[in-house]
């Protein structure tokens, strides 16, 4: 009898414990994130989830992810206007091929050395010697000391948009003496205090980077105590990181997977840029058979259904590509056409006969490798769609995915590749940027184009004396690239997107944010 009573009592105790536990659990489920509440009260560390970390910190090698540890002489603002940064005023044109740069006084590098004419000339001379992007922007240019804070830029011929060119990260300013003896490797410059920006690189690994404030920053003490950048490629992991309060911001968030995932989630907002800042470009490797055949290239570009690729297959995150410049941009030409019948005719005329669904010529199949990189999962959908569209005209495509750092900067053979890029150059205009990916010496000429006629047109564009000439040349270049030579096309334009916590709700990705420039200048909570 006593044992039965004890057992009943134990059962009652167990039930009460379970009820109490359930009540506690439900109390915790109040619909808002505990971490979110904590983050809105103001952590001193700004946490960013980035799809890429900088492959290189050295501007001469090409900074492809920009976190404001470096500054250039000028920058392009949200309105598309070039403004001085390290210069006290915009470059002054003294002659057709001479410009005067005047530095602001009392700017120091993060190592304490002064930024003056000598240190600027040292940096620019190194860039012109080592940086393909700088060489494409200002071919043949050199810099000389004109005074303690004055530097003369000598260009080869007229370079009308020099103030814009100097905004290119290829011309980021650094202390050459600080990087002397720096180890090779992606993070070799970390801790060297070589730049002038508000935050210096304290640590750098394959998966993360830490920036700490430079107390003597020329625009005043930075407000953030630390910027922590973590590599987060997976779209859903970005959402979880924001919602858990582990991240304040995550980049490259304008993706269908993210849009679906954040529906109904608290404390996660997707902020889009007002204009399309990004694009997905199709590079054709023009040195590799059969892509060295212009008829095949034309057929490939005409077999792509840009409308479908830019809408249905990308869940409407952007706009279909109509040309290699964004629709609505001054001088943009909508010359990309979907015409599979014309593509088939071209291939047949070129001797490619259809056999069992794939075209052959001289016993060889028309088989292409389409390269994509792992860090952009959305490229897979596009690649599969392109594979299907090209298959319809008898072109067999195999898709290959690689890490980004080896897909482009390596000699891996491929025939087609999809590449996410900015829709205009870091200097805000397409002129020098066209040279970067179409010019023979362009740093992003992944298609290995070597076309003297195109190089001449690009050089003429850079030196165009007025807008009318510029527009004429832009039209000529676009038609030459897409219709005549079929070197490239653009599949998709899309707005940049950033995932933010509600306390960063006022953030808007814009052309200024291309360089995440606002982090340079005393960024603080905006919500």
């Amino acid at each position: 009898m006593l044992q039965v009573s004890i057992r009943r009592l134990r059962r009652q105790k167990l039930c009460l414990s379970l009820i109490a536990a359930a009540a506690l659990f439900c109390a915790a489920c109040d619909g808002t994130s505990a971490n979110a509440q904590q983050s809105s009260s103001g952590p001193a560390t700004f946490n960013i989830g980035a799809t890429f970390l900088p492959t290189f910190i050295d501007p001469a090698k090409g900074i492809d992810a920009i976190f404001s540890f470096a500054q250039a002489l000028t920058r392009v603002n949200a309105q598309g206007q070039v403004v001085p940064v390290l210069l006290v005023k915009l470059p002054q044109q003294q002659a057709t091929s001479k410009w005067l740069l005047t530095l602001r006084p009392r700017i120091t590098f993060q190592d304490g050395r002064a930024l003056n004419a000598k240190t600027l000339v040292a940096a620019m001379t190194r860039e012109m010697r080592l940086s393909p992007a700088a060489q494409a922007d200002l071919p043949g240019a050199f810099f000389t000391v004109a005074g303690p804070l004055s530097v003369t830029v000598h260009t080869r011929g007229l370079v009308r948009l020099l103030p814009y060119d100097l905004a290119d990260p290829a011309f980021d300013v650094y202390d050459v003496s600080a990087i002397a003896g720096a180890p090779n490797g992606d993070c070799g410059w970390a801790g060297r205090k070589a730049f002038t920006a508000a935050y210096e690189i304290a640590t750098c690994t394959a998966n993360s980077m830490t920036l700490v404030p430079y107390a003597k920053y020329w625009q005043g003490g930075p407000k953030l105590k630390k910027i922590q950048i973590t590599l987060v490629s997976d779209p859903l992991a970005k959402v979880d990181g924001i919602e858990a309060g582990q991240l304040d911001m995550a980049d490259s968030a304008n993706e269908a997977a993210i849009k679906d995932a954040i529906r109904g989630r608290s404390n996660v907002q997707l902020k889009l840029s007002p204009v399309p800042l990004s694009l997905t470009r199709v590079y054709l490797n023009v040195t590799r058979p059969p892509m060295n055949d212009v008829m095949v290239r034309r057929a490939v570009l005409q077999a792509l259904d840009y409308q479908a690729l830019g809408t249905a297959f990308t869940s409407n995150v952007g706009q279909p590509g109509r040309g290699i410049l964004p629709t609505g941009y001054p001088g943009a030409v909508a010359n990309q056409k979907y015409d599979p019948a014309a593509a088939s005719k071209l291939l047949t005329a070129d001797g490619w006969r259809m056999a069992n669904g794939t075209r052959t010529k001289g016993g060889k199949q028309l088989a292409l490798t389409l390269l994509i990189y792992n860090e952009r999962p959305a490229l897979k959908q596009l690649a599969v769609a392109m594979q299907s569209e090209l298959s319809a005209v008898g072109i067999k495509v195999s898709i290959q995915a690689q890490p980004f750092s080896y897909s482009m900067y390596n000699t891996t053979p491929w025939d087609l590749t999809l590449y996410n890029d900015y829709s205009v150059g870091p200097d805000g205009v397409p002129d020098s940027y066209l040279s970067t990916y179409l010019g023979s010496t362009g740093s992003e000429n992944f298609g290995h184009i070597h076309d003297p006629a195109l190089d001449r047109m690009l050089a003429q564009l850079v030196a165009a004396p007025d807008q009318a000439t510029r527009n004429r040349l832009l039209t000529q270049i676009q038609n030459y690239v897409v219709l005549t030579k079929a070197y490239q096309s653009v599949v998709l334009y899309q707005k940049d997107g950033a995932l933010v916590t509600s306390s960063w709700g006022c953030y808007v990705p814009d052309p200024d944010a291309y360089q995440y420039a606002e982090w340079n200048w005393n960024i603080s909570r905006c919500g």
Binding site: R11, L14, A28, C29, S33, A34, N35, Q38, G49, T205, A206, N207, S208, T230, L231, V232, D234, A237, D240, G241, E243, A244, G245, Q246, L247, K364, Q365, A367, T369, L371, N374, S398, Q400, A401, Q402, P403, Y406, N410, T412, P413, W414
Partner: protein, 328 residues
């Protein structure tokens, strides 16, 4: 009085008996490892198709010229006899060299280097949770055999077995990290951040060890020696801990060793859920890119981990083996 079996019957006594057993187990593990390495190497070396063509295809050369094929064959050492190639590979593996990635052309060891430690931490944490949770639940279930707690534990373990680790991981992120504010959604590879992903891993693998432990303990509780102990006034808890548990450790450790295999495989999925900077995502990329040297190296490492887990289980069993204490 008879001398009994086990250590006391061994010339030189318990110490020598143990030494012989340990040496034997180590030797078995080495032989198993050698056999596994042969199997792993053969699987990749004799996969359908020409290895040189595969290597070139992984780099995008789908239709190589005879010259390119010949060059690649020379680079891969395909002209040498099979035994020579295997031993070259084995010697390299023992020195930490697993060849070069087909895609990046960098040494595989370099590619694995920074990713291995986080994965090992995650696996270790998962193993720890599996052992602790399976042990505790098995004990509780055996103590309350055929009553409500036992039934509840059996239901929970079945649910854990049926739930993929990535579902558990997502659940943990949503309800523990985001709602309760405990832990991190994005792991940094360190020990502290390995706790929650370790729980996800451990939960997915604990079912079989927990059931084995429970049954072994119940067998112990129903044995003659338990009956004798009970007749002398020992409590059920004392019988469970003093008498049943030591005898149940052996089957429990073996069940843990078997479950370790699925746990190691589960790290790949859990790493993706928690953005863990380990081998998991790299393995997925390498499989997709047909980067066979990388896949081969990771397969070998996973196999070695499983063999080590089995060895550890055997050695622990030895320590708890009543024969080692001179009892038959």
């Amino acid at each position: 009085m008879t001398a009994g079996t086990g250590a006391l019957a061994w010339p030189g006594g318990r110490a020598r008996w143990l030494a012989a057993k340990v040496t034997g187990r180590l030797g078995q593990a080495l032989l198993t490892m050698l056999g596994a390495s042969i199997l792993v190497w053969l699987l990749f070396a004799f996969a359908p198709g020409d290895p040189a063509q595969r290597a070139l295809a992984a780099r995008g050369i789908l239709a190589p010229t005879p010259g390119e094929l010949a060059s690649e064959r020379h680079t891969l050492g395909l002209g040498h006899p099979v035994v020579y190639r295997y031993f070259s590979w084995l010697v390299g593996a023992l020195h930490g060299s697993f060849g070069r990635s087909y895609i990046t052309q960098l040494p595989v060891a370099t590619e694995l280097g920074s990713r291995l430690a986080p994965t090992l931490r995650l696996a270790a944490m998962g193993l720890l949770f599996m052992i602790v949770l399976a042990g505790l639940s098995g004990m509780l279930a055996a103590f309350a055999a055929n009553r409500a707690p036992d039934l509840a534990i059996r239901v929970v373990t079945v649910i854990c077995a049926a739930t993929p680790s990535f579902i558990t991981g997502l659940f943990i992120i949503q309800f523990v990290v985001i709602r309760l504010g405990i832990g991190q959604a994005l792991g940094n590879g360190g020990w502290a951040d390995a706790i929650l992903p370790g729980v996800a891993l451990g939960l997915a693998s604990l079912a079989v060890p927990a059931r084995v432990f429970r049954q072994s303990l119940i067998d112990g509780l129903e044995s003659y020696y338990a009956l004798v102990a009970h007749s002398r006034g020992a409590s059920k808890l004392r019988i469970l801990l003093r008498h049943a548990a030591p005898n149940a450790i052996t089957p429990f450790t073996h069940a843990i060793a078997v479950a370790a295999a699925s746990l190691i495989g589960g790290t790949v999925i859990v790493e993706a859920v928690f953005n863990w900077p380990g081998l998991g995502s790299y393995l997925i990329q390498s499989v997709q890119a047909r980067d066979l040297p990388v896949v081969q190296a990771i397969t070998l490492l996973a196999t070695a981990s499983y063999i080590l887990a089995s060895l550890a289980a055997d050695l622990i069993s030895l320590a708890f083996d009543p024969h080692a204490r001179g009892r038959s």
